[in-house]
Amino acid sequence: MPNISKSIPKQDTAEKTSGEALYIGDIKFDGMLHAKTLRSTETRALIKEIKIPELPDGYHIIDYKDIPGDNYVKIIFEDMPVFAEKTVNYFGEPILLVVGEDKQVILDIVDSIEVKYETLEPHYKYTKSVINYEYEKGNADKAFINAVKTINGEYTTGYQEHIYLEPQGVIGLYEENKITILGSMQCPYYIKNAVMQVLNDDGNGVRVQQATTGGAFGGKEEFPSLMACQVAVAAAKLKRPISLIYERTEDIIATTKRHPSTIKFSAAIGPHFTVDAIRAHVSLDSGAYIGLSGVVLQRAMIAASGVYTIDNLSISGDVYETNSVPNGAFRGFGAPQMLFAIEMFMEHIAKELKQPPFEFKLKYVAKKGDATSTGGQFRDSILLKDMIHKVWDVSDYQRKTTEFSQPGSNKGIGMSLFLHGCGFTGSGEQKHIKAVVRLRKNEDDTVTVLAANTEMGQGAATTLRKIAAGILGIPIEQVIYNLPDTDLVPDSGPTVASRTIMIVGGLIARAAKELKEKWEPGVEIIVEERYKQPNFIKWDEDTLHGDAYPAYSWGVAVCEVEVDPVTFRVDLKDLWSAYDIGKAIDERIVIGQVEGGLLQGIAYGMLEVMDCKEGIIQQKNVTDYIIPTAADSINMYTYIMDNPYPLGPYGAKGAGELPLVGGAPAVAMAIENAIGKKITKIPVTPEYIMELMKND
């Protein structure tokens, strides 16, 4: 069998370099109208009156009264309205759409609408818990009673904004008995289900098609459902194509971001400097509506012991509602917050106990057969120690640590160890997603992949075809993948949670095996596969006990920095990292995910600042929310291990989120070692470093 990891050209490169690819803003229909959202200017208020001026012919208002079904965006909880009705709960909350032909006229109408509010007392702090979870492993209480010492730590993380280069956008189309949504998205069936609920439709009247999607990173997981519901209502009422495309500032103010968090730890230390137990509490700021926050909290809590096996854990967490923009999915989904916190905490424990941090952490690194944080089992071989030694050697870690510890070096090197649970948490795949994929062998002997998973830059259009072609033993050109259309493909689940290759690719691999057996030239054959949870996986949703994930991917990242002693500017040097993702389906695509994800994680740790004052996001564009440029990026030396996972296609596990998770702790640790001060929050900005240095 040819080597599946050998890289091939990506399916969509030519249409993208030539500018021919059609993103949602590039698509036009005859008679298409534009829509603009009127947004709340209060963070919490009753809407007393909305004064709408006389509208010119051909201009319309769409609001909650136009919704035939329920005024909720179906996500998990039915708490977020499509259009605000009696109250607004955050600055920027959508109240209505102004729809018409000329964009300037629409803007003038939006500006002339007067909304009268009666303000209510808003919540901005962690006071109003709306979700609380906890779980136990072993007996933490006993370990704390027997402890010779307790060490505490508190860590905070800021917002992160996705800055997919293409802002959010959708178009709604009307035909008799059918509303079609076209858009930039990760999850066509999430949108279909949400639109069905607002239109009171049984499913036959809603169709969702993905347009070429200009980056997503989680930001186009649940948010596009809100916009799709709005244009669906408008298209159904006006019977015209309706386009709703955000500009950058609107996108930054009004769309979901990574949850800010505060994580508190206590460690019970035994007589021989052992970590006998950890207690942790995670606080997440959900913003005004819960959305996916409960699931994000679970992933954060489950990652509480990082890559370490700690026998006794007592972990709790709360989602707090605040009157600010709702937070949501972002690559890593709770894990980046926790991995930053636990990596720093383990370092700080070692330093407080005057133990060499590297050797101290190594003692706890998980091995095959160990119990996971939730009392499940690491069933597959874990190469983490080999990876650590590899990265240790190539980065010259030992020598640099010694050299940089000399006074006045201003340099530092730091290492992060991290993991990511692949696929949905717990029994999500089995109970909620129930993925179905099909392969259709066409009469001309081409094969079409029928799955709802989206290409958003991560390479699914190439890798999913590659899996099918490889198993069928046919040239890749003979396998067709089109951006999903819910009228043509079954629901194979959302393109999230590092599940596309492992779960959906796994189903495609099984379908391909079956098709290969049934293969008959010149005739059409359809095969279908449905997800079945492996029997050995047990998960209790109420106690959060058991196997939280079917498999785990692992990583090690080393970052070297130099801190300017006058300006405290951090200069990134080189980055070395190693990953166990089972098997790379295409090495170059995986390295592309690694380089992009790691830089996003590093920037989360030291560059990307977003403030929310009195419920209002202060940054408005990429001029004041700074992301890395080519000049900020640095050389990355990446090692991909080969450790096939028995249940993955060709042995592949998840890869998309993992590299991001390791970025912030690696850079924060490097800065801590450069300045000799304890880092407890990200982003580590020059201002924060200055504050630490002043407290000498």
Binding site: S7, P9, K10, D12, T13, A14, E15, K16, T17, S18, G19, E20, A21, L22, Y23, G25, D26, H162, I163, Y164, L165, E166, P167, T212, T213, G214, G215, A216, F217, E247, R248, T249, M456, G457, Q458, G459, R588, I589, I591, G592, E595, G596, G597, L598, L599, Q600, N621, V622, T623, I627, P628, T629, A630, A631, S633, N635, M636
Partner: protein, 157 residues
Amino acid sequence: MTEIKFKLNNKNVRIEKDLTMRLLDVLRDDYGLIGVKEGCGEGECGACSVLVNGEVVSSCLMPLGNAAGKNIVTIEGFKKTKRYKVLHKAYEDEGAVQCGYCIPGMILASESLLNKNPHPTEEEIRDGLSGNLCRCTGYNMIVKAVQRASKRGEGLW
């Protein structure tokens, strides 16, 4: 409304318009040149990059009036050149394209850079592309693509 003339993708064009309009909107809406993307609208991200007399310019910040008498090249014009073919292949071989939204602008920035400096160092490439944001790749594959294009396109620039 005023009439102006300029060269667009090597053809002489004339148009009657409000000259304060953003060049970006005129290129997309009046000429259908959708390879020019809007990413930020404030001249920071480079997705709307075009070449104006060979220089990379953010078309979201350029009023149409400033185009008078100039030679404007968008990706639609540039893709017909040999240089494009070399850049395209180099981007493909290095895996430098993910979501693609920044890529037409990035290719034009690469062209402008190589035009001025056919053999740039890695640092010069990073500086030359620093006006074009990419959120997917971490840039290194793009930098390598420009290095590769520089080698393969010997004599073209």
